[in-house]
């Protein structure tokens, strides 16, 4: 069985699966249950400044969207940072860390953007023996209205400034948690790096309304007939998170900055994908909230099996896909594929036909007896038929070898060439 022990910016854990700062990590009871189940680490739910605790709503905090059989696909929450007294949290963190020395325990922090607040909170957590801090610059709801959370994460200068304070007043490893509620994730990541962050973690939740009640006409979750936007998470946000992770991992200015991958990680496979895209570990919340802590056992067995089968170490996996994550202009425009329908597997539902005929390129023929075949002279290889086909691997894309005739264009498949040298590109330059 592959060794899954991880060392993320000097923080060791028996596996790379951490629970993200969120409701599941709000108190000792939950965190100990998580450690008993096998989680490698937790980021304790965000602590605020000393003083009267945060107040949460007493109506619904979560909204959701579902797939078939009420499979939860996306969750949205309007819960704020911890609403328990600071001293209670600190005492519990200390107790848990003492008892579970082999597990990672990072404290998430969110205080106003003033130096003294950060200095004070860092001092307050000093003797908890926690392994590090994570700066919550991500939450898009509630706290952002008070100038914290994503309100900070959306301004690179603030990110840099606060990160500097943290590095100045603490020797703990510092992870900066980024908000995806920005036009580009790169400036915030660069700012964190400039401020001295040891790592970034992303993504925090996305501003969202899951649904509108069509009787009361209130957004959901509804509090007394009104709704406010929440933070979206769960399987639905994974594609957004993977892209942002990859953007940071590949950019020349942020390359090498350790990343803790977050956003819809539900299975070992999701975790492996985040790691291949550059994450050094992953953080999970919604999957645990949906299925309970036991899912980590599947993540452990699945990732081990995968690494064994690939004969890779965990470190071999990290960033493995990053060199293949390129900009569109560098894609090979002479790469030609055609859809192929396996007639033995086809169940004749005709979804490929409807999709292609109604919404794409009229490249699938349908016979009287419902045999569906691809017209190579019309197929642009868009892959829509593959995606809508209910049968796994029934429709596949066949790659035309160099020199073969593309019946659609009437041209032979050429060697690698991309947009930068394409004759239709006004700014094209000659191939070197």
């Amino acid at each position: 069985m592959a060794d899954l022990s991880a060392n993320f910016i000097g923080i060791k854990s028996p596996n790379p699966f951490w629970l993200a700062s969120a409701p599941p990590t709000d108190k000792k009871y939950n965190v100990e249950r998580a450690f008993e189940a096998g989680w490698g680490g937790v980021v304790w739910k965000t602590l605020g400044s000393e003083g009267p605790p945060i107040v949460n709503v007493s109506g619904p905090r979560y909204g959701a969207i579902w797939g078939a059989d009420r499979r939860l696909l996306g969750l949205n929450n309007i819960e704020l940072i911890t609403d328990r007294p600071l001293e209670v949290n600190l005492q519990e963190i200390k107790e848990v860390k003492r008892k579970w020395k082999d597990r990672a325990l990072v404290i998430s922090l969110m205080v106003p953007c003033e130096e003294t607040y950060w200095k004070d909170i860092l001092k307050a957590i000093e003797d908890t023996e926690a392994d590090g801090v994570e700066l919550n610059f991500g939450c898009p709801h509630g706290m952002a209205e008070r100038g914290m959370g994503s309100a900070v994460g959306q301004v690179p200068e603030y990110i840099e400034m606060v990160t500097r304070w943290v590095k100045q007043y603490s020797r703990m490893p510092c992870i900066v948690k980024l908000t995806p509620n920005v036009t580009s994730i790169l400036p915030p990541a660069m700012a964190a790096k400039r401020g001295g962050a040891d790592a970034v973690s992303l993504i925090n939740t996305i501003k969202s309304i899951t649904n509108v009640d069509l009787d009361s006409f209130s957004p959901f979750p509804m509090i007394d007939g009104k709704g406010s936007h929440g933070g979206y998470c769960g399987p639905a946000v994974k594609p957004i998170a993977l892209n942002m992770t990859g953007e940071i991992a590949r950019h020349q200015e942020t390359r090498g900055l350790p990343i803790s991958g977050i956003g819809g990680v539900t299975t070992w496979r999701d975790a492996a994908e985040f790691m291949a895209m550059g994450a050094g570990n992953v953080q999970v919340c919604t999957a645990a909230m949906t299925y309970g802590f036991k899912i980590v056992q599947e993540m452990i067995s699945g990732l081990s099996q995968y690494l064994d089968e690939k004969q890779m170490s965990l470190n071999d996996l990290i960033g493995r896909a990053v060199p293949n994550f390129v900009e569109w202009q560098h894609l090979n425009l002479n790469y030609v594929t055609k859809a192929v329908i396996n007639q033995d597997d086809c169940i004749k539902c005709g979804r490929c036909y409807a999709a292609c005929e109604d919404t794409s390129h009229q490249a699938i023929a349908m016979s009287e007896d419902r045999t569906f075949t691809v017209k190579d002279d019309e197929c642009v290889a868009c892959n829509l038929c593959v995606n809508v086909c209910p049968v796994d691997n029934c429709i596949t894309m066949k790659t035309l070898p160099e020199g073969a005739l593309d019946e659609r264009t009437g041209r032979k498949v050429g060697t690698y060439a991309n947009w930068t040298t394409h004759p239709n590109n006004p700014s094209a330059h000659a191939a070197e």
Partner: protein, 442 residues
């Protein structure tokens, strides 16, 4: 009063073989309705196929993917409307259709994984839900002043009458029996339409207005086709198959030998099943739905041994595989490839002697090898035939052949199509459209 002491072992044809409570559970809903969540899950399995094979397989061409999507999106009323716009008896068809040989056989998930979308149960979910709201979903068009006579208040006649009423014509339905509904009311197993569903559906259907049902009126006895042709602008005949094939075996006249359809009709109309007599050893001869319905219900009434004997192989049985399985699960034995030679008994049936058969290119041959089954009750379920039809109508293959001038035909009495409720509905509906086109010159 002496307590009821009959049991499954009591010899002869007697009532009350079971404890009183057993009847309600034995004859309750055979296949329970889906609840809202089950329906949502079942509906989610539909792939919403292009030009869906299930629609093609449905004799009434219900837009199945559309109604299932309407269930999946929380609008079963709209789903029911989609169903009823093609099949006004969609509620009954959801219960009695052999879906495994129609829509569900064509379902691509049957091809993919051997588990079709549960179309029949979903159809029932939608129609039950919408019927519970109690409103007839169709409105009549302005009255045309045209009058149409519909003979037979079975599925074909009712579908025809409803569609004619929708188009604004005035309809008079003539029914020889005491109640409307035809085989839905008299001819199918009780547990398939529990809770008086057939009668409720007829009542609901008639809410459209413009349809007058006259029961106890028989064509040929109380009224002639010529009279109807003279009095009405058009006539639709949906008279079903009133005749029953004879056994043509010695002893057929013995006491205890009976037509399965009569037994089923009596059972359906019984208000107290504990008073309905049934044999200890019941033999049902035939291989169709009627045979299965008679056999299973005999078993459910407490018969000790119930055997269906069919003269050909299992592959030739017209009862669906689902029906056969149900019979076997209920405890009915099915013997194939055997034909009755004679019913044995002195005044009353005591046994039936069968000869094994061989089904070859030259037809069915009886072998010399025979066996005998104990039988104090014998049900004949070897097919129904056209009977009582007006003499001057052309007959093709034992059935009425198509429309003649102002007379249209449909349902089991008409040539073409299988003898199924759903086929009858399609034929009645289509005849109504043809009549409407003729009457309005459309």
């Amino acid at each position: 009063m002496r307590p009821m002491t009959n049991s499954p072992l009591t010899p002869g044809i007697v009532p009350g073989r079971l404890p009183a409570a057993a009847y309600a559970s034995n004859f309750g809903d055979h296949e329970p309705a889906l609840d809202a969540h089950e329906a949502r899950v079942a509906a989610d399995r539909c792939y919403f196929c292009h030009d869906a094979p299930c629609i093609t397989a449905c004799p009434t061409d219900i837009d199945i993917p559309l109604f299932i999507r309407q269930i999946a999106t929380g609008t079963p009323e709209a789903a029911a409307q989609t169903i009823w716009s093609q099949n006004i008896l969609g509620g009954m068809c959801a219960r009695v259709c052999p879906t495994e040989t129609l829509c569900e056989q064509a379902c691509v998930r049957e091809t993919a994984e051997g588990k079709p979308v549960e179309i029949g149960r979903l159809q029932r979910f939608a129609t039950d839900h919408a019927m519970a709201k109690g409103k007839q979903p169709f409105k009549r068009a302005a009255r045309t002043g045209k009058r149409v006579a519909v003979v037979g208040a079975g599925p074909a006649g009712l579908a025809c009458a409803h569609r004619l009423a929708v188009h604004g014509h005035d309809v008079v339905v003539l029914e020889r029996r005491a109640k409307a509904g035809g085989l839905n009311e008299y001819g199918i197993a009780s547990y398939k339409a529990a809770g008086g569903f057939a009668a409720r559906e007829v009542e609901w259907l008639l809410e459209i207005g413009g349809i007058e049902v006259r029961t106890g009126v028989e064509l040929g006895r109380d009224v002639t086709l010529d009279q109807l042709k003279a009095e009405y602008d058009a006539v639709f005949l949906g008279i079903g198959l009133a005749g029953v094939n004879a056994l043509r075996a010695a002893g057929e006249e013995l006491e205890g030998v009976r037509n399965a359809v009569d037994f089923i009709a009596e059972l359906r109309q019984s208000t107290d099943l504990s008073k309905l007599p049934v044999g200890r050893d019941v033999v049902v001869i035939g291989g169709g739905m009627t045979a299965v319905d008679a056999a299973v219900q005999s078993k459910l009434l407490g018969a000790e041994n119930v055997t269906i004997v069919y003269r050909r192989g299992q592959d030739k049985m017209s009862a669906s595989g689902h029906e056969q399985d149900h019979a076997v699960q209920t405890g009915v034995r099915i013997i194939h490839n055997a034909a009755p030679v004679r019913v044995i008994g002195n005044g009353k049936a005591e046994a039936v002697e069968f000869a094994y058969t061989q089904d070859g290119p030259g037809g069915l041959k009886l072998s010399s090898e025979t066996f005998t089954l104990k039988a104090d009750q014998v049900f004949k379920a070897i097919g129904q035939t056209l009977a009582g039809q007006p003499k001057d109508l052309p007959v093709d293959g034992g059935k009425l052949a198509g429309a003649q001038a102002t007379v249209w035909v449909g349902g089991d009495c008409a040539a073409g199509g299988e003898d199924l409720t759903v086929t009858a509905v399609a034929e009645g509906r289509d005849a109504a459209e043809a009549i409407h086109a003729r009457l309005t010159g459309a």
